[in-house]
């Protein structure tokens, strides 16, 4: 039956790996080898990318807005710090997963507050939870170190083999591997029936329920998973910098994350990663030009992106490469940012 094979081919088409995706990861790995003096900022970008990937899972796929995603980042960061500081779990990878799970538990518990209500309620609830945790961390300074943060964290070698070095080489490759594994997992999830049901919920929750989708259960599941990702990102932060301070919970961290995702685009997974690269580069660039007023320029870029629209910017950026391809190959433009959600 040809209709049947057609259906399965087309149904799987969206999940097929594209050349541009392979190129993206090869490039990422190449950067790690090409710029040995830039390990620290690259690690920073990888962490931010993972954190943004987490927000994309709930914002880009399920339509849950959050201004308090740092709550999970912070819980992951402190969990990893405390586990290492008190020698409870010495092996970083296991500690990483454990910290992620702690964040996931928090995500699960708070998801019941978040799934109720509409966007504005969600913004306020998520923001409130993050502020609450920040205050708690400050209050219980005997555990968290208060405003001084956790001090004297000593990280053991990853898997007992790769010791963290002072240049950040191990930290970068460790972060990159974690990001890659979690990215593959996220990719798998969004192309599953579960992922499809999330897109349906984002589009029209009422309709999704009328199709038979248990809307709340799906939202709780993805929120918990996103919290796990954010917790891992936070734990990576602590493990690669050997410190955890109150600013892991800060509002700025949540707000920056939103910027990253707006820059990169939501709903195609690479948005968070591309956004993280662009955001950090812009930050570096503007900071070197005007150390005091770099936020002004970031703000300006943001306004331009939102007003002009990302799809159009992509067209402009890809104008020259496409022109070259057309000239060389005599065919239609082949370069496109892998994006399904242009708006």
């Amino acid at each position: 039956m040809t209709a049947l094979s057609d259906v399965s081919t087309h149904a799987m088409a969206s999940a097929r790996c594209r050349i541009s995706e392979v190129a993206f990861w090869v490039l990422a790995l190449a950067c790690a080898f090409l710029f040995p003096s830039r390990y620290l900022i690259m690690t920073d970008i990888v962490r931010l990318g993972l954190f943004a990937l987490s927000l994309d899972l709930i914002l880009g796929y399920a339509g849950i807005v959050s201004l308090g995603h740092a709550a999970f980042f912070g819980v992951g960061a402190y969990s990893a710090g405390l586990l290492a500081l008190h020698g409870i779990i010495n092996e970083p990878v296991i500690a990483l997963v454990a910290a992620g799970l702690v964040a996931a538990v928090l995500g699960f518990l708070t998801s019941f507050l978040v799934i109720r209500g509409v966007d504005l309620t969600r913004l306020m609830v998520t923001l409130g939870i993050a502020l609450l945790l920040e205050a708690l961390a400050e209050r219980f300074s005997d555990i968290t170190g208060g405003t001084d943060g956790l001090q004297g964290i000593e990280m053991q070698p990853v898997l007992g083999l790769f010791a963290f070095d002072m240049f950040g080489r191990t930290g970068l490759f460790y972060s990159l591997v974690v990001l890659f594994i979690l990215f593959l997992l996220a990719r798998r999830v969004v192309h599953s029936p579960f992922g499809l049901s999330l897109r349906a919920i984002k589009n029209n929750p009422l309709r999704a329920a009328a199709i038979g989708v248990p809307v709340n259960r799906r939202l709780i599941a993805i929120y918990t998973l996103a919290a796990f990702y954010a917790g891992i990102a936070g734990a990576l932060f602590t493990q690669t910098t050997a410190l955890a301070s109150l600013d892991v919970f800060s509002f700025e961290r949540s707000a920056d994350l939103m910027l990253v995702l707006v820059i990169g685009g939501t709903g195609y997974l690479y948005g968070g990663l591309i956004g993280a690269v662009v955001f950090k580069m812009l930050q570096e660039l503007f900071q070197s030009i005007t150390p005091q007023y770099w936020l002004f320029w970031i703000g300006l870029v943001l306004v331009v992106i939102v007003m002009v629209g990302r799809a159009r910017i992509h067209r402009w950026v890809l104008f020259v490469p496409n022109l070259i391809i057309r000239q060389l190959a005599g065919r239609k433009a082949a370069v496109a940012v892998p994006e399904s959600d242009a708006s």
């Binding site: 029936p193 309709r207 038979g212």
Partner: protein, 250 residues
């Protein structure tokens, strides 16, 4: 004959406005039942209570004898009560393939699969293929729903509802807004619905109602005005005054 869907003394008010008044309705197993009424009669409110979007102030709703008044929307779908929507509520940026795939996956209880990719289960694929071909959507299955002709979108609407394998199907104005040229496909699809599926049709179009229904209930001001076979209803002077007269004028 068993009763497929029943409401008992259903009441719904918005503030001081009684939108559903003591509505007791019985839809028999396998029936082609039409619910008609002038604009503002409360038809949509009834649908919303049947499907669980609105909760009635009092009264009960029974599906095949089981009380479903307190069940959530998606649980009623899993129990076999499915609906189509009047205005376009399809997923604009999903394809017909994805939309039907979603509905089939959910019905089979595979909607929560987060590890399996779409398109890897043969039983799901076979059903999607069957539905796509039955509703003439195979050729457009990979196009975005928003780009489809309106008639195709209405077909998809019915296909999605059927994908849930309902035993009771609520059709909310299936042919509304469809251009004359594409109407035939819709009417044929409605006529070809399996006989074991009970259908409650909410419709404005009298041609469709009288060609399709074997029983008609007339709703006026939220309450049941009369009920009966199509020819009885057509003869009823009250109905003519309240509804058919108005329809003839329009």
């Amino acid at each position: 004959m068993t009763i497929a869907l029943e409401t008992r003394n259903l009441e719904k008010s918005f503030g001081g406005l009684r939108v559903t008044r003591d509505l007791s309705l019985k839809v028999m197993q396998g029936a082609r039942h039409a619910l008609i009424g002038p604009n503002g009669a409360g038809k949509t409110t009834v649908i919303n209570q049947l499907t669980g979007v609105l909760t009635p102030n009092s009264g009960r709703i029974l599906l095949e004898g089981h009380d479903i008044t307190g069940l959530s929307v998606h649980r009623r779908v899993l129990r076999g009560l499915s609906r189509t929507f009047q205005i376009n509520q399809l997923y604009a940026d999903l394809t017909p393939l994805e939309t039907i795939g979603l509905a089939v996956s959910e019905r089979m209880g595979r909607g929560g699969d987060w590890w399996r990719r779409m398109g890897t289960r043969d039983d799901v694929n076979a059903e999607i293929a069957e539905l796509l071909s039955r509703f003439h959507l195979l050729d457009v299955m990979t196009e975005l729903t928003s780009t489809l002709p309106y008639g195709k979108q209405r077909l998809l609407e019915i296909a999605v509802a059927i994908a849930a394998k309902p035993r009771v199907l609520l059709l909310d104005e299936p042919a509304a807004g469809v251009p004359e040229s594409e109407r035939h496909d819709i009417l044929a699809a409605v006529a070809a619905l399996p006989r074991d599926v009970t259908v409650l049709l909410i419709e404005h179009d009298m041609d469709l109602v009288f060609s399709f229904a074997d029983r008609i209930s007339v709703l006026v001001n939220g309450g049941l005005l009369t009920e009966g076979a199509p020819d009885e209803v057509a003869r009823d002077p009250q109905v003519r005054a309240v509804y058919l007269g108005e329809a003839a004028d329009a």
